[in-house]
């Protein structure tokens, strides 16, 4: 009684991580703020994107040097609208010495950035066969989540809300359904706006949460990074502790007998 719940690590393809928070590296005001925020978040996995080298620039390529040492770098396929482009991007990431773990995105719509789940499944199958550890960004659809698991993905990453929207979990019921059936880690990816959103994700029983804009776009990214670390830990502990049932009416906390008259 009264003991700290024994929380095991987040396990992805056999590798253990103590932090259940995965953070992106885009949109920070500067590399120094990014570095400090990444450290403050406690994250052990950070996402990166692949893009053409700017041939007209002679600027110092300090992004790579600004990533804190020892972090697992998770390349994404953001901006890919076809399975083929996503597969090419993963192969390029491997050539850059990254992987085999990749965050697979196949985007289907420019306005919402919702996934093209047909393209996503197609790419996942090819990449799993090629030996990649595939973490797919998907919508909050339990059927797609099951198909991604069947395709050999190492986790499934349903969105809470559109990328960068900060709307929080739009459909917690679907996330709960995905959790109920999944035999692989469920990481909510995209849509978190503030610390309470991250706590709700973890209270549902998700294995982790991935976010970028909520930290990078905050007025004080370093402070928000700390808030997110604490929220993920708090939400996880609340899940392990087991919340009380919701009741319609009050239930007094103080004894209702022996009142003075």
């Amino acid at each position: 009684m009264g003991m700290t719940p024994d929380d095991g690590p987040l396990v992805l393809a056999g590798r253990e991580y103590r932090s259940r928070l995965i953070v992106g590296t885009g949109k920070y005001p500067d590399f120094q703020t990014m570095h400090t925020a990444l450290v403050e978040s406690g994250a052990e996995i950070v996402t990166v994107a692949l893009r053409r080298v700017d041939l007209s620039s002679r600027g110092p390529g300090s992004f790579f040097a600004s990533l804190p040492a020892g972090m697992t770098i998770l390349p994404n396929t953001a901006g890919c609208y076809t399975a083929d482009d996503a597969i090419r991007t993963c192969r390029l990431a491997a050539e850059l010495g990254l992987g085999p773990m990749v965050k697979l995105e196949v985007i289907g719509d420019t306005k919402t950035l919702f996934p093209d789940v047909a393209g996503l499944l197609e790419a996942a199958k090819v990449l799993v066969k090629e030996g990649f550890i595939v973490l797919p960004y998907t919508n909050d659809d339990p059927v797609t989540a099951r198909r991604l698991e069947d395709a050999g993905c190492a986790a499934v990453m349903p969105l809470a809300a559109p990328i960068g929207s900060g709307l929080g979990i739009r459909n917690p019921h679907n996330i709960a359904l995905i959790l109920e059936q999944a035999n692989i880690p469920v990481l909510v990816d995209a849509g978190v706006g503030t610390a309470s959103d991250a706590a709700v994700v973890m209270e549902l029983g998700c294995d982790g949460v991935l976010m970028n804009t909520a930290i990078a776009g905050a007025k004080e990214p370093v402070v928000m990074a700390r808030a997110m670390r604490l929220a993920v830990e708090a939400g996880r502990l609340a899940f392990l502790a087991g919340r009380i049932p919701r009741k319609a009416y009050a239930n007094a906390s103080s004894p209702i007998r022996d009142l003075i008259e």
């Binding site: 992106g24 590296t25 885009g26 949109k27 920070y28 990014m34 996402t47 990166v48 994107a49 692949l50 893009r51 053409r52 080298v53 700017d54 041939l55 620039s57 002679r58 600027g59 110092p60 390529g61 992004f63 790579f64 040097a65 770098i73 390349p75 994404n76 953001a78 090419r88 192969r91 390029l92 990431a93 491997a94 050539e95 850059l96 010495g97 990254l98 990328i163 960068g164 995209a190 991935l210 976010m211 970028n212 804009t213």
Partner: protein, 66 residues
């Protein structure tokens, strides 16, 4: 020969290797990966792989992303 590098058409000497192209481009420091006509060419083959007229080359690196 005319080749395309990151979507930009360039006139370059014939029989250039990938390694020679990368040297000519004076890239900023940092890791890069190279595709020729949509296939990755591993770093160990950059010295041997000779580019030809019309090749489409992608030179990519890491940037911040979510």
């Amino acid at each position: 020969m005319q080749i395309w590098v990151n979507g930009i058409e360039k006139s370059l000497p014939d029989a250039l290797t990938i390694r020679q192209l990368l040297n000519l481009l004076e890239l900023p420091p940092g890791p890069v990966a190279v595709e020729v006509n949509r296939d990755v060419v591993p770093r160990v083959r950059h010295d041997q792989h000779i580019l030809v007229e019309g090749d489409r080359i992608e030179v990519v690196t890491l940037v911040g992303g979510g």
